[in-house]
């Protein structure tokens, strides 16, 4: 017997079977260390029924993939659909999903709780009392659609496009809604990004044109994380599994976090700097690298815009690279380890060790900042910018084990009937003059801007978003939402009751992850994938031969999905096509009829996803059938250094190379299956488009920045009023020691717990049981200093607008002199309202003048419902809503809300009760005005008479003319 021959025979058999898309080894099996049902048996999968234990009762399932709709990671799920009852029985991971690879965090399986939540909203509701009174009547979808459509149609006919606004939380989808808004011609896309990740994004954007990092953790030698948010709770499943792979391969993990996070517990270096000093540390590391020559000179020479810097800043147009290196040393000489130590409170020798460790990474340096310091501090955008500085020095951008730009690790297919139009009006409630460089809409200033500018929005959609609870200064939001002079009709599209929906006119029930269509793609490793979210019961019934064209037919109650909703609404806005928007939602095959969701996605999968038709064909499926069966597809892997790619000859026609080596061509843009990107680079004076950049005589793709290079020095910042910040530098935070009174401490509010996701997961009983409260982290030294004796003692936390009363958690897991309080918790419903019982306290809301108070009347506890588990709720403490006491802190450049608070901590007063909140909204407005004073607006500083640099990212980009500042710029109102 020849064992090698036998081994080869088995290998060949396995290859052959798996090549057919089947599984050679039966599974789930202990043999090949996998735990997933083989995909060829997803249609009829047998498991023992857990509830029948110890009897062995077999249950038959259809396994239908979908995509999680909790955080933005878009991990793959497999819904186990009971073949007898056609109900979902559980959710597990989808092994075919390239990002999550079959693994999920707790939030994925807890989708089961969300779809069976006994308190979920099942029917469209319309307000019948005053706004916020809590009186509702059930209405039909037709009535709601007709009413809303009529208002929008009227607004469009009267050229009031800016009075239609769509405010989205985490979108959980790519392209559908922005396509719709572009088709409507509405500059009304309002995202939550400026309370989330804009700070860090701005830092990345100024460097490389793209605004997010995609670290290749699994292949890194050194991983540097500035993320109390991400790796602990947002993308943490796809990232955490790869960070652990990296660690297993020997990578060193360096975590910057003032608090001992889950990720920090796994770190080789856990550094807890004084909040806001992170940029000082990175600059010290960079300075050391520069001084010691520990950087990739060739990379810097080829890819930084150092010539532009030497010309414009140093006045030396012909300077050599060596001249630049000398200038670089000079620029950063003052950023010593001792300086960073003084700012951060860390030991200088430790920082030296960290620098030496980072320097060992070479091109395998994976770095990441999402929220955390980037979103906590005034100037937080420079944290990400100085962090990427280290990658730019080591040449570790878009390398194996390095840090990729998001756009190269993400794939958004081109949709059918892409609207080639842009809104004509500029919405300056969302994009106000004072914040021309804001990365995204100034969403959290909406109530303040509306008040200041007498703004009005006729139709305001909040889509799975809860600004009253999430945003700072929430009582200002309540004031705005209740005021008919500000909001004509507020339509809350949500699967679950939330604090914002209480102040709506319509509540439209939308599906959870197994009840809706969406297409997603996120940067999670060096590859590109798409994930398909689908109503799983619709897919299951279709497998059984039924034809389901309306998702409401399979969803609980009258719960709908947005895709079909928007198609229907658009048709009612423009029933005869006279507004010119219906055409984008007409069938391709049957013009004059509505486009179906099957047609929309089927067209994209057929025409816009390379490789998918071929993969589907191998299995005898259409691309849409393939995605309905497997839920995800990997478009490419090992994307690599796109900037180094040579521009092909076919794209070089009548080429012009300018004095900055930027290369322009008359050749048209080659057809691409991808949706157009968000960056727009202006053509040259003769109308040629920019195609690349010349480096050492070769024409390379380069970067989507104004120079085509990595922008070490930003002309944009320089020319738009911020020359002192045009380089990666250090900005002292608003909670820097010098800005605090002696009795104030920084309050860190940006961290999350891994089993909750903002306000979206409240109706998941399993998650609530694990995490339902948010005590104040306080170091024992601080607790002793302010007189807090024990964990659990009530503490009054005073901010600039009011206070909240919370319980203390005395722990050494936080830096002395800093306190921290997580969000997610402190959810509430006003007395007398319908609403979520799981996880929501009942509160009394009172207002006297500008003074608001919130007092808890009833906390958590057991309650009767259709789910017997709700009688087993043993916890009563539901946390405190701290965000109400936060004033708005818009960073004057990135526009990011700077979350960290300057707080005073003291034991609660005798009359204080747990969960009390007290706020003076006048103080909140004064804070808005104070921060406004820091801005340098477009009218005063625009170098070219425009509102915003045209090249910068902008969702639903208006037409070019709308970028021009109005002639009487000083009086710019909401209509622009």
């Amino acid at each position: 017997m020849d064992l090698n021959e036998l081994n080869q025979r088995v290998s060949a058999a396995r290859s052959e079977v798996e090549g057919r898309g089947e599984t050679f080894y039966p599974g789930p099996s202990r043999i090949h260390l996998a735990h997933f049902p083989p995909k060829e048996r997803w249609n009829d999968w047998v498991e023992l029924d857990a509830r029948s234990w110890p009897r062995r009762v077999e249950k038959r399932y259809m396994l239908v993939p979908t995509t999680c709709f909790n955080c933005e990671s878009a991990c793959g799920l497999l819904a186990y659909v009971d073949r007898d009852t056609l109900q979902v029985r559980k959710f597990e991971g989808n092994p075919e999903h390239p990002g999550s690879r079959g693994r999920n965090c707790a939030k994925g399986p807890a989708t089961m709780n969300q779809i069976t939540d006994p308190d979920r909203i099942l029917h469209p509701l319309k307000r019948v009392g005053g706004r916020g009174e809590g009186k509702w009547e059930r209405v039909t979808w037709d009535d709601a659609l007709d009413d809303i459509a009529a208002r929008i149609r009227q607004a469009m006919r009267e050229d009031r496009h800016n009075e239609v606004m769509y405010h989205v939380g985490r979108p959980g989808e790519d392209g559908y809604t922005t396509r719709m808004l572009a088709a409507w011609g509405v500059d009304g896309h309002n995202s939550h990004t400026n309370v989330c990740s804009s700070g860090a994004r701005a830092g990345y954007h100024f460097w490389m044109g793209m605004d997010r990092p995609s670290p290749d953790h699994a292949n890194a030698k050194v991983i540097v994380l500035v993320s109390s948010h991400l790796e602990t709770g947002h993308y943490f499943n796809p990232h955490a599994q790869r960070i652990m792979e990296g660690k297993k391969n020997g990578a060193k993990l360096i975590v910057f976090d003032t608090r001992l996070s889950n990720t920090a517990t796994h770190a080789d270096f856990w550094l807890a700097p004084y909040p806001g000093s992170e940029a000082a540390i990175f600059l010290a590391v960079a300075s050391w690298m520069i001084r010691e020559g520990r950087y990739d000179r060739e990379y810097v020479r080829r890819w930084w815009n150092w010539r532009e810097y030497m010309t414009e800043v140093r006045g030396r147009a012909g300077a050599s690279f060596e001249d630049f290196e000398a200038a670089l040393r000079e620029e950063y000489a003052s950023y010593t380890f001792e300086f960073a130590a003084a700012e951060s409170g860390l030991d200088a020798d430790t920082l030296r060790d960290v620098a030496a460790t980072i320097a060992t990474a070479g091109t395998r340096l994976a770095t990441h900042n999402w929220r955390s310091a980037g979103s906590g501090n005034l100037g937080g955008w420079q944290v990400a910018r100085t962090l990427l500085f280290l990658n730019a020095l080591t040449g570790s951008i878009a390398t194996e084990g390095g840090t990729f730009p998001n756009s190269w690790n993400k794939y958004v297919p081109k949709p059918p009937r892409a609207p080639h139009r842009h809104p004509r009006q500029w919405n300056d409630i969302l994009w106000p003059d004072e914040y021309p460089l804001a990365l995204m809409e100034m969403s959290f200033l909406m109530p303040h801007l509306m008040k200041e500018r007498d703004g009005y929005v006729d139709v305001y959609f909040t889509r799975v978003y809860n600004p009253v609870w999430t945003n700072p200064d929430g009582f200002h939001w309540v004031d705005m939402l209740k005021d008919p002079k500000r909001i004509g009709v507020h339509v809350a599209m949500t699967p679950t009751w939330n604090e914002t929906a209480f102040f709506a006119d319509y509540i439209l029930p939308m599906g959870h992850s197994s009840e809706r269509h969406d297409l997603t793609s996120y940067e999670q490793y060096d590859g590109q994938w798409i994930g398909f979210r689908q109503p799983v019961l619709r897919a299951a019934r279709e497998r059984l031969g039924e034809d389901v064209s309306d998702t409401r037919a399979v969803n609980p109650g009258e719960v709908w999905e947005e895709n079909e909703f928007w198609i229907e609404l658009t048709w009612r806005i423009d029933p005869d096509g006279s507004l010119g928007i219906r055409e984008f939602f007409e069938s391709l095959e049957r013009p004059g009829e509505k486009m179906t969701v099957d047609e929309y996605y089927g067209w994209m999968f057929e025409n816009s996803v390379p490789g998918l038709p071929e993969a589907a064909s191998k299995e005898g499926l259409t691309p849409l059938q393939y995605m309905r069966r497997y839920g995800a597809f990997e478009v490419s892997r090992k994307v690599g250094r796109v900037f180094e790619q040579l521009v092909p000859e076919s794209e070089l026609e009548d080429v012009h190379v300018d004095d900055m080596d930027r290369v322009y061509t008359r050749a048209p843009v080659p057809p691409s299956p991808k949706a157009p990107g968000g960056i727009k680079i202006d053509p040259d004076a003769e109308g040629r488009r920019r195609v690349g950049v010349r480096v050492d005589g070769e024409i390379k793709r380069g970067w989507p920045t104004p120079t085509g290079k990595l922008e070490f020095w930003s002309r944009t910042l320089h020319e738009w009023g911020w020359p002192e910040l045009a380089l990666p530098t250090y900005i002292k935070s608003h909670i820097h020691r010098q800005n605090l009174d002696a009795d104030q401490v920084p309050l860190i509010t940006t961290f999350r717990v891994p089993v909750q996701i903002h306000t979206r997961s409240i109706n998941a009983k399993w998650l609530e049981e694990i995490a339902h409260t948010n005590p104040l982290w306080i170091h024992p030294e601080d607790a002793a200093r302010v007189g807090i004796a024990r964990t659990g003692d009530l503490v009054r936390v005073e901010t600039e607008t009011g206070y909240f009363v919370v319980k203390a958690w005395i722990t050494e897991g936080i830096r002395p002199g800093v306190v921290a309080c997580s969000h997610h918790m402190g959810r509430w419903k006003p007395e007398g309202h319908l609403g979520q019982r799981m996880g929501m306290s009942t509160v009394a809301l009172e207002k006297e003048g500008a003074r608001w108070s919130l007092n808890v009347r009833k906390g958590g506890g057991p309650f009767e419902s259709s789910d017997p588990d709700t009688m087993r709720v043993w916890w009563t403490d539901l946390g405190v809503h701290q965000n109400l006491t936060h004033a708005v802190h818009p960073d004057p450049i990135s526009g990011m809300h700077c979350w960290h608070q300057a707080a005073r901590i003291r034991p609660a007063e005798p009359d204080d009760r747990y969960g009390d909140v007290s706020v003076d909204t006048d103080k909140g407005y004064a804070a808005y005005l104070r921060w406004l004073e820091m801005t340098r607006g477009a009218t005063a500083h625009s170098p070219d008479g425009t509102r915003r640099p045209y090249w910068m990212l902008r969702p639903v980009r208006p037409e070019r003319a709308a970028f021009d500042l109005p002639r009487s710029a000083g009086s710019a109102g909401p209509q622009g």
């Binding site: 025979r9 080894y25 039966p26 099996s29 090949h32 297993k248």
Partner: protein, 313 residues
């Protein structure tokens, strides 16, 4: 497909591992690739792996001769040490072979990189500590007891493991921890009958694997009544009927095991010597007990009163 080290036929190991599971139609293509012919019915599997030869390392490496125990914990610890969550039955032969193949894959994929070297070391430890000490004895019993399908399976697996061991020469290192920790068969005259009976079914203490089939054969040969149950229970009742005869028959069996182990000394070195020594000691103790006559044995191994409801079979 995963990369594999050139030495270890990982795919073959994985395929053989699959066949330690109860047969299902899904096994057909694996069996076909191996050239084993048709999958046998589940009764054949049950007879071999459930009634005669449990495919769990702890049964053969633990002092109790039963599932789990310290040997099971030690193996679970090994899974953790190599970075895997221990599966529900970490010492199942299929799981161990699956792990072995995975480590070989990792070793092959990463070559001389530190992770590859570590995977290779882990694979060798798994072979030395948790597979080789019991597998040759076990597979020889399977070959002797089972029908053609599983005999063929045992023969190929035996050849694979032999080649793996030969490839790791010199294999004669320290004794595996399971063996270092295991006490020999206790003397019932000083330790009592219960520990003695417990020990008789523990391979690591006696050096011999006693199956139900062995005990049935013994009963038939000596015309003793057979009460079906666990091996310990069967032994207890055989000894109660005619202890001297049973001791002599078991001593003879142990003697044969001594020879089998000695034959493996060139391959397994100290491990084989350990088991040969155990079998020799077992044979000596059993002979001594038989020579002492039946006086104390009658008392020690008296059958419980039939009025207790138990009937001889």
């Amino acid at each position: 497909m995963t990369a594999t080290s050139s030495a270890t036929p990982a795919e073959l190991v994985r395929a053989l591992a699959v066949l330690t599971e109860p047969p299902s139609p899904d096994h057909a293509r694996v069996a076909e690739a191996l050239g084993f012919g048709e999958i046998p019915g589940s009764s054949v599997y049950t007879e071999v792996f459930l009634f005669q030869l449990f495919p769990f390392a702890s049964v053969y490496l633990g002092e109790e001769g039963m599932l789990g125990g310290e040997a099971g914990s030690r193996i679970a610890g090994f899974w953790s040490a190599v970075g895997h969550q221990p599966p529900p039955e970490p010492d199942h032969l299929g799981a161990l072979l699956g792990l072995y193949a995975a480590l070989a894959d990792a070793e092959g994929a990463r070559g001389d990189a530190p992770r590859g070297v570590l995977a290779g070391q882990a694979r060798r430890v798994l072979l030395h500590e948790h597979l080789a000490p019991w597998l040759f004895a076990y597979l020889s019993k399977v070959e002797a007891l089972a029908g053609p399908f599983y005999a063929r399976w045992a023969s190929v697996l035996g050849a694979v493991v032999r080649r793996e061991v030969e490839g790791e020469a010199p294999f004669d290192q320290d004794l595996p921890a399971h063996l270092r920790e295991a006490a020999p068969l206790p003397d019932p005259r000083t330790e009592g009958s219960a520990p003695f009976l417990d020990g008789l079914v523990a391979f690591v203490r006696t050096g011999m694997i006693l199956t139900r089939a062995d005990l049935t054969r013994l009963a038939r040969t000596h015309e003793l009544g057979m009460r079906m149950g666990e091996r310990r229970y069967i032994l207890e009742h055989l000894l109660a009927q005619d202890a001297v005869t049973v001791f002599r028959a078991l001593a003879e069996e142990a003697g044969e095991w001594t020879f089998r182990h000695e034959e493996r000394v060139p391959l397994l070195g100290s491990t084989a010597r350990f088991f040969a020594d155990r079998a020799t000691r077992t044979a000596a103790l059993l002979t001594s007990l038989a020579d002492e006559g039946e006086t104390f044995l009658t008392d020690e191994f008296a059958v419980k009163s039939p009025q207790g409801g138990e009937e001889p079979t």
